[in-house]
């Protein structure tokens, strides 16, 4: 791998190291309940929102009430977006006169954006009006991310509180996440991206005549504003079909670096915010380090795999110094694409700057596995921390016994009341992922969507459900996902991967909030040490590995070993 590639990686790490602690402390204050920086600016705006919505910000909710609010908000969001997409043909801001989406596509897209997945069974510039993009998809990019972050805040409160019945107020957490974190960050990032050349207008196609004399229709639209939040909110849904491989979304090396940073920064910062919120910053740093270790390992591995020569081309005389280039932007190069692939699959972001279908077998397999880890490295905004903390609880439960005590985390006993939701959390994704993949593998209608046969075809199926069940949204492509079979099954997978994980997390929060912690002593299993962190990584890898290895063997591994 070239020195410039290592340079990109190190620059990204440095950028994260500089910004994550600052944003982490800030996010801790946003969800902490006390005063926070910018109160003078933000409080009036929030109060206005509460007044309009009839929310009493002082009233906290029991976890069931919190979950009910989350579900109600999800349902209303879904219905509103569905209506908008169906009716966009008769609504304004539609310079290309695009028709409304058909029911399947509208269902799939609405589920996709309200679950923070942003799986796209459509091509943005060819299907969505500017109104749909701006007031539908972009709005969901903000609120679906903020809803995930809200559940995280409730989870962390559950861990930190003692003898409490409530875990916070969903509406307050939702509002503060949007107003104080996502909007300001997105605004700044959008300005930066416009500066780099990302388009931001309300135009339709600009028709130009090329040097060859052909007519070219060049699309326009409010891309920068959506691209900013697509990265920061770990959404990933591109304005254009080619996503961040498109020069209008990601024009320069610098915009590529900053967007990779934007994919990672919010979930990484929230890990540190956790330390501030639970009153023990070492815990936050430990979770951060665990996430970072997995991300860094997978990133370097995929970068190396993509920068390596393709063995099938060996001996053909092809110059392979630039690595695997099929499906990649030569502007960006193989290593930057590998780094992005690892980052986007580790965050449940799902935006791409290369076609994952063309990744090397192991590079693609690793990207898939990175999602199958449960999106914890560092995972989606808020939901990534949820996932990692569930893995921490699982590790505590397994390892805690080996210290001669019944397991406890931060002084709270982990009992059947927590293990039940942990088990539901662990079961949900494998059931829908493997279930739908298996059903697709023997379903003629599904197989007709495939671009490839053999192990690579199976990888396309597995990737589609790994992406949707983990609310990632990136596509292997090579698979026509717009058929009724795939729009419905991926839609169900996205719903399961969202709510069947968030509800158990809230149940754990509710149970932990009630407990009173045992004071820590030398017999307390320390959960901030490298040993424990390493163990969490091992649990993440082993749990995912044991669950998905048989399927991966028949897909990417079979393909790799056949080379």
């Amino acid at each position: 791998m070239a020195a410039t590639a290592w340079g990109q990686f190190l620059a990204l790490v440095a950028l994260l190291a500089l910004t994550a602690p600052v944003l982490g402390r800030y996010a801790g204050a946003v969800y902490g309940g006390g005063g926070a920086p910018g109160d003078r600016l933000f409080l009036p705006a929030e109060r206005l929102v509460y007044r309009i919505c009839g929310v009493d910000p002082g009233r906290e909710q029991h976890w069931t009430r919190y979950a009910f609010s989350l579900l109600a908000f999800g349902l209303v969001s879904f219905l509103a977006l569905y209506a908008l997409l169906r009716l966009q043909g008769v609504l304004p801001l539609n310079p290309l006169g695009l028709p409304g989406l058909d029911p399947h596509a509208a269902f799939n897209a609405s589920v996709s954006f309200t679950t923070n997945t942003n799986w796209q069974a459509y091509a943005g510039e060819a299907a969505m009006s500017h109104l749909s993009q701006m007031s539908g998809l972009t709005v969901q990019n903000f609120v679906s991310a903020a809803a995930g972050m809200a559940v995280m805040a409730a989870f962390v409160r559950g861990i930190a509180r003692r003898g409490a019945e409530t875990v916070g107020n969903f509406w307050v957490d939702l509002t503060r996440g949007v107003v104080r974190i996502l909007l300001p960050l997105s605004f700044l990032l959008a300005l930066f991206l416009v500066g780099q050349g990302v388009v931001q207008n309300l135009n339709g196609h600009t028709v130009a005549t090329t040097v060859e004399g052909a007519a070219q229709a060049i699309p326009g639209g409010p891309a920068a504003s959506q691209v900013a939040v697509k990265q920061l909110g770990t959404n990933g849904g591109g304005f254009f079909d080619a996503n961040s491989a498109h020069p209008f979304e990601n024009p320069t090396a610098l915009s590529n670096l900053v967007q990779t940073w934007a994919i990672l920064i919010v979930p990484f910062s929230l890990a540190l915010a956790y330390g501030h919120l639970c009153g023990d910053r070492r815990q936050g740093r430990a979770v951060f380090a665990t996430m970072f270790a997995v991300w860094a390992l997978v990133s370097v591995a995929v970068m190396l795999l993509e920068s390596a020569a393709n063995p099938l081309l060996a001996g053909t005389g092809a110059d392979q110094a630039a690595g695997h280039l099929e499906g990649k932007e030569t502007r960006l190069g193989a290593a930057a694409s590998g780094l992005w692939a690892a980052s986007t699959t580790g965050t449940s972001n799902g935006s791409v700057n290369a076609m994952h279908d063309s990744l090397s077998p192991l590079g693609g397999g690793l990207s898939m596995l990175h999602m199958m880890f449960g999106e914890v490295s560092p995972g989606g905004a808020g939901v990534g921390l949820n996932g990692m903390l569930v893995m921490v609880l699982l590790t505590v439960f397994l390892a805690g016994l080996m210290t001669g005590r019944t397991p406890e985390y931060l002084g709270k006993k982990i009992t059947a009341a927590e293990i039940k939701p942990v088990v539901l959390y662990l079961l949900a994704v494998p059931v829908v992922l493997l279930g739908f993949a298996a059903a697709s593998a023997v379903n003629g209608a599904a197989l007709a969507s495939l671009n490839n046969t053999g192990p690579h075809g199976l990888s396309e199926i597995l990737y589609a459900y790994a992406s949707t069940a983990n609310n990632n949204g990136s596509a292997f492509a090579g698979l026509d996902a717009s058929t009724p079979w795939f729009t419905v099954t991926t839609g169900v997978a996205m719903l399961a991967g969202r709510f069947l994980l968030l509800i158990p997390v809230l149940a754990i929060a509710g149970s932990l909030a009630r407990k009173r912690p045992v004071p820590a002593g030398v017999s307390t299993l320390p959960t901030h040490t490298p040993l424990f962190g390493g163990l969490v990584v091992a649990v993440v890898v082993v749990v995912a590995g044991l669950t998905f290895l048989p399927a991966l063997t028949l897909g990417p591994l079979a393909e790799y070993f056949a080379l």
């Binding site: 439960f397 001669g404 397991p407 493997l434 053999g454 004071p519 590995g545 669950t547």
Partner: protein, 702 residues
Amino acid sequence: MNDTPKPATATVTAATAAGPDRARPGALGAPLLRRALADSVRKLDPRVQFRNPVMFVVLLGSALATVLSAAALFGGETDRAAFGGLLTLFLWATLLFANFAEALAEGRGKARAAALRATRSATEALVRTPDGTLVSVPGTELRVGDECVVSAGGVVPGDGDVVEGIATVDESAITGESAPVVRESGGDRSAVTGGTTVLSDRIVVRITTPPGETFLDRMIALVEGAERQRTPNEVALTILLCGLTAVFLVAVVTLQPLAAYSGARQDPVVLIALLICLIPTTIGALLSAIGIAGMERLVRRNVMATSGRAVEAAGDVTTLLLDKTGTITFGNRRAAEFLSLPGVPDAELAEAARRSSLADGTPEGRSIVDLAAAGRPSGDASGESGVPVPFTARTRMSGLDDGGRRVRKGAVDAVARWTRENGGEVPDRLRALAQDVSDRGGTPLAVAEVPAQGAPARLLGVVHLKDTVKPGMRERFEQLRTLGIRTVMVTGDNPGTAAVIAREAGVDDFLAEAAPEDKLALIRREQEGGALVAMTGDGTNDAPALARADVGVAMNTGTQAAREAGNMVDLDSDPTKLIEIVHIGKQLLVTRGALTTFSLANDVAKYFAILPAMFAASLPGLERMNVMGLASAESAILSAVVFNALVIVALVPLALRGVAFRPLSAAALLRRNLLVYGLGGLVAPFVGIKLIDLLISALGVI
């Protein structure tokens, strides 16, 4: 399960089965093994297996594999039937081995229960009616509140408190201790247990427990495991194991369609074998055995826990309340040094103290003689004659009159008064010496003498009586501190004395001038701070505190109220045993965690054995995943299944004995156990499966 003792176990006599040092873990008698084998088959009953979801899945899988193999046989596919049959055989073996582990763990308890039952003979009770007449009533028809008269040679008909009289009682049937104990009305030694024998005298016992619920009945039920309920942590672990089983079920069930897509459809028997290798059978098989063995370890130390929950809680204890007297110190004060007044040679004081105590039979008096003898040239036996003056509560002195020469020792003010009465003077220095001893937590005794008839009395000095801390206590508290357990000493002494003893014993804190209600308040306070508290107690006064403590160990010698309030009873009535109980609790939890980790870590190797075996035929590249170089697909799958079954048997001794537990910090324990059971669990099956594969190929089984 099975309540009738088998002839095989009836040969274990009551005395040997109930002895304090009965069956050692390794010493598994042949009858025990035979009975466990029979029980393993009996436990194949689906209703029994249903209680253990992981093994229930194995049962279903084995049954299905049997049907499939039989179908293959009758369908004429002899090769498939032979291989399937072999796999099926070892699937059943997995189940039988699991049953065997549990049956073996229960076996010792059942043998002891049978022995206890043999001692429970039908007794006739002499009940005293309100008008004073005695009526003979069968022991099984006694009611709470009945007052029974028991004379020498009689068997106590039920649990109760002595309300009249004092007697020596042989409790060996329950405790295994052959030395008789004294039971008397009033005070803290009033509880008698049904089934024990009165050796001398006559007592009246008020029955406190209805027949059928007596201590002996509860003990039988406990050691037999009939009342065994899952502990909270066991429940949580079982849920997790069910969840993992479900995950693997999904992974294996969905594998067939994926395999079909890849043109590598599998024999269902092979898929069942894969499933059973992956689900956590090792810990699933041993989980209940670990719990039963943990209880059994307590029983072996003569501690009866009324619930497994208490054993688990013992591992979590963070605060230990220990009574000073009898637990931390010997309970009787011993002479530690002689402090002579100016002008008195040390030897003279020692000699006078010795002479004054010659007739003093109390432990304190003997300790003075011992201390004086230690500092004296041997062979000097002078001054053994004289008339002893015994201690009385009025004089508070004892001594010796030898002609005109008289010596006295006793409470400082009493001896001072005696000195003045006999014309002597009391130097100020005496007060200073006495104060010094008190300050150091000791009790001062003054020694004075009248050297000859008519001579004035003379004060010689002070004997320092010390509450002696038992040897080794400091080290044990140090160990407890390593485990994160705070020790609090409870004593009726004044704070000054208490502080000195506390410092000397190395406890973390003390509660001085403690009344029973202070104990209760202390427990409340500790618990509100999140601590889990363990304590021992014997008196009726202790009952509320025993009930409130997370682990309350009642002394068997104590009152019935105390025994009912605690969640454990120590038959040896040894308060320091609390420390051992904590160890056993921790060991139980470590064993459970270690085997869970081992079980899960095993799966990695099984994948590397089975996956290439399943798919290499259709996707030849996957042969490169066969890192162990197993001989053939069939032998690879069979080796994994055989390993999975044998590892249960291999781990039975560990499950019964418990993982070696060392008092280390949590971080050190985790590192150590992870290395042994995590890494070991990862590596062991690679080696084991390879060896089994070599053996299978060498034998030409497949």
